[in-house]
């Protein structure tokens, strides 16, 4: 039933909430062993998309097939093979860490002994084994997210779905989660990762969908996206008369964009541009490598669009 190692296959998916079209005809596939990122700002439709994959929200059009089965509310077989780290923390505050894990494991109809072994192994994996008997309230934000990762691994899922696993965490906690996720990746765990952070997407994802207002704007590997959409380098020039600069740079190969007080020049190589600008008097010029952020902002517009 599954072909070419495609675990999730989505075709023209549409989801509406009343008059609002939250997901507007998107198509993509997730292959075995890859980390597929969905990168987009708040409200892009990331959570809505993965909820449909998780079989906890019905779609309004298109087809979603997971492990060769059609996604749908009663699809226990799909739910049984997914591991989910939800955007919103839903650890049970009435229970200890161990109780949380053991009750959750039982939900998958695993034998008690298996549950116990996996609980211990996964708590160790996220470095929370020593805290097993503590209450959830005593955990920091980062620890809670790690526990959610451990919990999602209990059923040894075929695909892990991570919905903004590090949003709101401090840098240390974030790097700790990234380490754990990279370690899972190296073990061949397939992942779908929702994120608003460019850095997270660059660090973890093999392939990316850039999502905005319910649509997929671009798809590709992070470095490919950067090369194709903006080139290698960016020159930022602040507070200057744009027309004069562009005239001065005539004949050189670059793309440009003007936002507020800044002129952005995207190019493969910035040396010639900088040489010409050198004769231009006192300019505030910043030269840096192109990042995913440039791709993202180029595609979605640098202005506020909410």
């Amino acid at each position: 039933m599954m072909n070419d190692g495609i675990l999730i296959d989505i075709e023209s998916l549409v989801k509406k909430y009343g008059n609002l079209t939250a997901v507007d005809g998107i198509s993509f596939a997730v292959r075995k062993g890859e980390c597929m990122g969905i990168l987009g700002p708040n409200g892009a439709g990331k959570t809505t998309t993965v909820k449909i994959i998780q079989c906890i929200s019905p779609s309004d059009g298109g087809t979603v097939s997971v492990f060769g089965l059609p996604a749908g509310l009663s699809q226990r077989a799909v739910k049984a093979q997914l591991g989910v780290v939800p955007q919103e923390n839903d650890l049970d505050p009435d229970l200890t860490i161990r109780e949380n894990m053991e009750l959750f494991g039982a939900l998958f109809d695993m034998p008690k002994k298996t549950v116990r072994e996996r609980v211990n192994a996964n708590l160790k994996f996220v470095e929370l084994y020593e805290r097993a008997n503590d209450k959830i309230v005593s955990l920091s934000g980062g620890m809670k997210r790690r526990l959610l990762v451990a919990r999602a691994l209990l059923n040894e899922p075929k695909v892990m779905i991570l919905d903004e696993p590090t949003t709101g965490l401090d840098p240390q906690a974030r790097h700790m989660i990234w380490q754990r996720l990279r370690s899972l990746k190296s073990k061949g765990v397939t992942m779908v990762l929702n994120t608003q952070y460019m850095e997270e997407a660059e660090q973890l994802c093999d392939r990316l969908l850039i999502m905005h207002k319910g649509r997929i704007l671009k798809e590709g590997a992070p470095d490919e996206l950067i090369k194709n959409e903006v080139g290698e380098e960016v020159v930022e020039i602040r507070n200057h008369e744009v027309k004069g600069i562009l005239e001065k740079l005539g004949g050189l190969e670059f793309m440009h964009e003007e936002v507020g007080d800044t002129l952005y020049l995207y190019c493969r190589e910035s040396r010639d541009i900088l040489t010409r600008l050198a004769g231009f008097g006192s300019l505030s010029v910043l030269r840096r490598p192109a990042t995913l952020e440039d791709v993202f902002l180029r595609l979605t517009g640098r202005g506020l669009n909410e």
């Binding site: 929200s57 226990r76 049984a80 989910v84 923390n89 049970d92 229970l95 009750l103």
Partner: protein, 256 residues
């Protein structure tokens, strides 16, 4: 609704509530019992001493069967309104459960099963308290659990429906003050219905607790006949409808 929506997984939801309950068992136990015991003492002993015989028995004895079901109704109601709302809205327990192979229907059924458990527990405690006054006999211990199952099932299911509509806690105050409390007073617990004005009698027919009180009296005083079974059956059948509606409503609330 297909049958496969409900399975043994209901037990896991029930188990989760049990594990969580063990921690708060004593305070919540006392809270759920305080009210009926207060009524028993204030009304039964206090008022009873001025009242002489009611329906041919001391007032305390008249009161006892009704309180045996009302305590069970209150437990189920609190558990599946305030308790369920905390789990659903604040603790996000339902969200966590439905991502696993559990269905919304099973979450609801598990919650109701737990509500029934609580309602059974408070029933037994009340029975124990009444034992101190020499009221129930050994047969009550066999028959009453049957009734508590029906009462717990009906009122837990009804409470889940209310919860499925509730935007915030205050919402439950309306339910309690406009429905549960009036029912408590006009279902024949505190005074025999046959001496009430016609209007009260008519209203009492629409109050499920009335049927439960009637069944309870005949269980405790051993004058059960076929009409008692009919009352019990009515409660269970009504409960089944409410239960299906509760599953439907919760699905609407949780699945968007």
């Amino acid at each position: 609704m297909s049958e496969s929506m409900l399975s043994h997984r209901i037990y896991y939801v029930w188990k989760r509530n049990l594990v969580s309950y063990r921690r708060f068992a004593i305070p919540s136990f006392i809270a759920s019992l305080g009210e009926p015991i207060l009524y028993l003492i204030a009304m039964g002993i206090g008022m009873g001493s001025y009242m002489g015989l009611v329906d041919g028995m001391p007032y305390l004895n008249f009161l006892a069967p009704g309180l045996l079901v009302s305590t069970s109704m209150f437990s189920a109601t609190y558990e599946c309104t305030f308790g369920a709302f905390v789990r659903m809205k604040i603790e996000k327990v339902y969200n966590a459960l439905i991502v696993t192979p559990l269905t919304v229907e099973e979450v609801v059924a598990g919650e109701i099963l737990w509500g029934m458990t609580r309602s059974m527990l408070s029933g037994f405690i009340m029975l124990g308290v009444l034992l101190a006054f020499g009221i129930p006999n050994w047969k009550s211990f066999l028959l009453m659990p049957l009734l508590w199952v029906a009462v717990g099932f009906f009122f837990s299911s009804l409470a889940i429906i209310v919860t499925s509509f509730a935007p915030h806690f205050d919402f439950f105050t309306y339910y309690l003050e406009l429905y549960i409390m009036p029912m408590f007073f006009f279902s024949g617990i505190f005074f025999p219905l046959d001496r009430m004005p016609a209007a009260v009698k008519v209203i009492s027919h629409f109050m499920p607790l009335t049927y439960a009180v009637r069944v309870s009296r005949s269980f405790i005083y051993g004058n059960a006949d076929w009409s008692v079974l009919l009352n019990l059956a009515a409660l269970i059948i009504a409960g089944l409808f409410i239960f299906y509606w509760a599953m439907h409503r919760m699905k609407k609330r949780l699945i968007k």
